[in-house]
């Protein structure tokens, strides 16, 4: 008799109707969006601060290269000793004082520039000023050597190396960032999914044990059916929750940014900075075009298929272990000692993915880890956007399936014995003995 659909249905409905599940489903995206909005709002406030910086330029060389902008006003102080200038700036309650000391030699000038302020200035303020001074001083030096600035400007060349594989596929730096984003998102999604819903499966197994219904159930159903039903039912509930999160998150993000007029997409996240730097040479229109072509250049079909397979394979691999842990213990506090061996390879996979795949997606480390079954789902998903040969994907998936079959067998054994064991917390040695019961 096949009760699997019945069990899946019960598990699914039981999860989805659960109050805390419903609350989490609808509250989480709101909390997330609220957090993003607050951060965006705060960082905007931060940028809004208007400050005045005074400049005491004894050389008279650089002062006029500072143009006031919306948030920063530069005022030039002339003919005043430095001590006096400091007093003045303090009295005016300006943000700080940039002091360029008189020097006979332009070359020595660079060593005698100081900035005085109450609070230490942010990195961006300092480097902004440094850039301006550097440019001016280089120009001055070039002029001293008798070079015409106009000529230099005319001679300036912009280079953008067009990348192309031997097969004729065009790639670019934008592509790389896109690939990174897609791979990272896929790998991280899997990681989160395993942790959240694996735990949910484990708790649901423990619940059946503590409520003592388990023996009634398994007098009608094979333990392995019950286990698989649990895993699949809970996963479907998880997928439902994820989809609601994505839809709700998208809608809320749109609404919030419309209401508060905060352009959340313009936030200076680290990724943005990276992309902006990559784009420094190309204009906006160009960038949009590159993004689109980059997206189209991704192995989209491969990505989708591989995502589906590795996601399911990896998830089942880990969730069966979670189910086994749930069966082995009586309550959640006892699960700690068994959690470590599960979490470790997962975390390792994410680290390997983040650090080595970015560095070299086809290097030895990332290749090896994309074959080891416990790390392969995450690492392979991160690698695939960079183009992994099909034979590698197939081999890795085959290894994953073999391991998956083994862990499910293993978990089912533990599960079968564990669900009827009450009272004591088993040791690893005992778990091993259960395999032979």
């Amino acid at each position: 008799m096949n009760h699997l659909p019945l069990i899946i249905k019960r598990e699914y409905l039981n999860k989805v109707r659960n109050k805390s599940f419903i609350v989490m489903t609808f509250l989480s995206p709101m909390i997330m969006i609220a957090l993003i909005a607050v951060v965006a709002y705060l960082s905007q406030m931060n940028n809004d601060t208007k400050r005045t910086i005074s400049i005491l330029d004894e050389t008279g060389l650089v002062g006029d290269s500072f143009e006031s902008s919306e948030y920063t006003t530069y005022t030039i102080i002339n003919n005043m000793p430095i001590e006096g200038a400091k007093e003045l700036v303090k009295a005016k309650n300006d943000f700080g004082l940039l002091y360029i000391k008189k020097s006979s030699d332009t070359l020595k000038l660079v060593e005698t520039i100081n900035f005085y302020s109450d609070e230490s200035p942010s990195l961006s303020i300092i480097s902004g000023m440094e850039r301006k001074i550097e440019k001016r001083l280089s120009d001055v030096k070039l002029q001293n050597e008798g070079v015409d600035i106009a000529q230099i400007l005319a001679a300036k060349t912009r280079v953008n190396i067009a990348q192309e594989t031997f097969e004729g596929e065009k790639t670019s730096k934008v592509d790389s960032y896109l690939k990174l984003a897609f791979g990272g998102a896929a790998g991280y999604l899997l990681f989160m999914f395993i942790i959240i819903y694996g735990n949910m499966i484990m708790r649901s197994v423990i619940e059946e044990k503590t409520s003592r219904i388990i023996e009634i159930i398994i007098s009608s159903v094979k333990p392995i059916q019950l286990m698989m039903g649990k895993i699949i039912g809970t996963s479907l509930a998880g997928v439902t929750q994820f989809i609601i999160w994505i839809i709700l998150g998208g809608v809320l993000l749109y609404v919030v940014s419309a209401i508060f007029g905060i352009d959340v997409m313009q936030m200076q996240t680290p990724q943005k900075v990276l992309i902006n730097q990559a784009m420094a040479n190309s204009d906006a229109q160009n960038m949009a075009q590159e993004l689109i072509t980059g997206f189209l250049n991704l192995p989209i079909l491969n990505l989708c298929v591989a995502f589906l397979f590795f996601f399911i394979g990896g998830y089942l691999l880990y969730s069966s272990l979670y189910a086994a842990i749930g069966a082995a213990v009586d309550n959640e506090t006892d699960t700690q000692q068994f959690m470590m061996p599960i979490i470790m390879p997962l975390v390792l996979a994410v680290y390997v993915g983040v650090f080595t795949v970015i560095e070299d997606p086809h290097g030895t480390v990332s290749t090896v880890f994309s074959f080891i079954p416990f790390t392969s789902p995450v690492v392979m998903l991160m690698r695939i956007p960079f183009g992994v040969p099909i034979w590698q994907q197939l081999l890795s998936f085959a290894l994953l399936v073999c391991t998956f079959v083994f862990t499910v067998w293993f978990a089912a054994k533990i599960y079968r014995v564990g669900i009827l064991m009450y009272g004591k917390k088993p040791t690893y040695k005992e778990l091993f003995k259960w395999l032979k019961y």
Binding site: M1, L6, E208, S211, R212, I213, I216, K222
Partner: protein, 308 residues
Amino acid sequence: MNNLLVANSVSKSFGDFKALNNVSIEVEKGSIFGLLGPNGAGKTTLIRIVNQITMPDSGEILLDGSPLKPHNIRDIGYLPEERGLYKTMKVGEQAIYLAQLKGLSKQEAKDRLKYWFDKLEIGDWWNKKIQELSKGQAQKIQFIVTVLHRPKLLIFDEPFSGFDPINATLIKDEILQLRDEGATVIFSTHRMESVEELCDHIALIHKSNKVLDGKLTDVKRQFKTNTFEVGLQSETPEVVTQLIKEQFEVFPATFKNLSDDIKMNIKLPANTSPNDLLSFLTSKAEIHHFVEVIPSANDIFIQTVKNN
């Protein structure tokens, strides 16, 4: 074929621990079979093997003459000792789910549940969650779920625990009625008074071995000690007592009767019949009470376990 269930030298070990050692039982159709034994003797293991929860290392189980198959789970209703229900699920929904797992269709399950809920007068519990019910109330639901699919074989492990006397009687009557309707019952308990009341046949498992097996009346006959409870009246009780003590083995006795001149248990030697004792007594005193002492299930249990 008069046996519904036959276990043929079933053995099961867990690691180094032998839970069952060559245990055989035969459960007659339409009977109530008492499976007795101290805690940890192996009863639950045997019951789990019958339910195909655990697989035996050796030996076989026959149901209706053929080896147990996975589809036989429909033929068995099992009320485990460690039992519970999903706490957050509603009573009706849960009962339907469990019935469906036993192979009933949703509609069948609903109809039969309605019958049982009306019979036990618990119709208004349908939409309650289990956690809102008391332990005894939840037990009633578990009982209904066990018998709902009308199995040939019912296995009850401590069915009365958690019930007040009224509900215990109610359940006992239901079990007897199910038996009368043709079901066979295996009944495992530590309450010897319910064994006396219900069981036709008992088997006692002790330290993984079956140490006693047979019809309850046969077992009692086997354990009887040829002892008689005697109440006499006499003008000279001391003299009469002395006379009896010279002839027979005598133990003190307690029972209720109107006069209390002489009360004693008299044990007869193997070759002596109760008539001999009677004729001996009639010449000495007036006989008001004369009953053979029948060993109780409790005595049999304790004696067997102690001797092994």
